[in-house]
């Protein structure tokens, strides 16, 4: 029991803009195995082809998506290999580009 709890990390995921419709919620608390990274999280979240197609392109992340870990874009961290830690907040949305 103790060992099991110890191996889990909890993070918060917040969706914005059209991703709120895509994921049908504003935010979610997610439990992952310790040592998980952003790829693990996104694979977990993308539980349908519709969701996967909005996030990934040929196995890689769509480069223009805003995916922030605690306010920092993962592009400036380690991309999909960015490690997640207990208590992290991940924000995901497609940026608006028009004017």
């Amino acid at each position: 029991m103790w060992k099991g709890v110890d191996r889990i990390l909890k993070i918060k995921v917040k969706f914005f803009a059209s991703f709120r419709e895509l994921f049908q919620e504003k935010e979610r608390e997610v439990e992952l195995q310790k040592g998980s990274n952003m790829r693990d999280l996104l694979n977990l979240l993308c539980d349908s082809s519709k969701r996967r197609d909005q996030i990934f392109e040929g196995g890689e992340l769509k480069p223009y998506l805003a995916i922030l870990k605690n306010g920092k874009h993962i592009y400036h961290l380690k991309g999909l290999e960015t490690r997640l830690e207990e208590g992290d907040t991940v924000v995901i949305f497609p940026p608006a580009g028009g004017g």
């Binding site: 914005f16 059209s18 920092k72 924000v91 949305f93 940026p95 608006a96 004017g99």
Partner: protein, 241 residues
């Protein structure tokens, strides 16, 4: 020095930031990149507020499909240059300010010259490639940048202070594919109004700005929320590269 007419014209806002604040607006020089949907509300409200000098830059001509949101223009302006019509409209709104309309495509070569000697830059553009040029010019010249963007019923805004806050490239390191996006004029107007309010607050040093905060507007669900953002110390535009 404010005239008697200025004191009457701006009486309602002088109650907020005083005659000194109005003087600051009168002495301010604001560069507005783009004369489209965001620019319509930003430029009209900044002109009405008494910003002393506005330079508005756009390369395009007015098309029928612009008129659902670009309320600077009317049917009579179709086929004319956006910058010219915008400049004329702003002068009609407030004849006491200086308005300069520039018909140019903002590019790597001219951007620094275009923004030189301006106190603030408003991003009222419709594409990220040009936004990145303004972002870099803002940091090279140490000029605050007021970002806004819209797509459908979603939009975002932030205020970027060189040397202090995350910049546009920290937040959005890769540009979304450039394409015409669906837009409702009224929603575009909301984002532009937020940018204009940020400009007026910045000039007067009042309130809290959207520094290191991305304001997320969801017009579909009528919500406004903030996302905390952080500077990238190695950012190629605002960091050590």
């Amino acid at each position: 020095m404010l005239s008697e007419r200025d004191l009457q014209r701006y009486e309602r806002q002088i109650r907020i930031f005083g005659e000194g604040g109005q003087e600051k607006l009168k002495n301010a020089k604001v560069f507005i990149g783009g004369a489209g949907g965001l620019s319509a509300s930003v430029s009209l409200y900044l002109a009405a507020a008494g910003i002393g000098r506005i330079r508005i830059v756009d390369h395009d001509i007015i098309k029928l499909s612009n008129l659902n949101r670009q309320i600077l223009f009317t049917d009579n302006d179709l086929g004319k240059r956006k910058s010219d019509c915008a400049g004329e409209r702003l002068k009609r709104v407030n004849p006491n300010i200086e308005v300069e309309a520039v018909t140019e495509t903002i590019n790597e070569k001219n951007v620094s010259k275009l923004v030189a000697n301006f106190d603030l830059i408003v991003d009222a553009l419709d594409n990220f490639a040009t936004r990145y040029l303004l972002n870099r010019a803002a940091h090279v010249n140490n000029i605050p940048l007021f970002h806004g963007a819209v797509e459908g019923l979603y939009g975002q805004a932030t205020t970027i202070i060189p040397g202090q806050t995350a910049c546009l490239r920290c937040i959005f390191p890769v540009a979304p594919t450039s394409s015409t996006v669906p837009v409702i004029g009224s929603f575009c107007g909301i984002i532009g109004c937020i940018q204009a309010t940020e400009v007026i607050k910045y000039i007067n040093g009042i309130g809290k700005l959207l520094e290191n905060k991305l304001l997320m507007l969801d017009g579909l669900n009528s919500t406004i929320e903030e996302i905390e953002i952080q500077k990238n110390p190695r950012c190629e535009d605002c960091g050590k590269g």
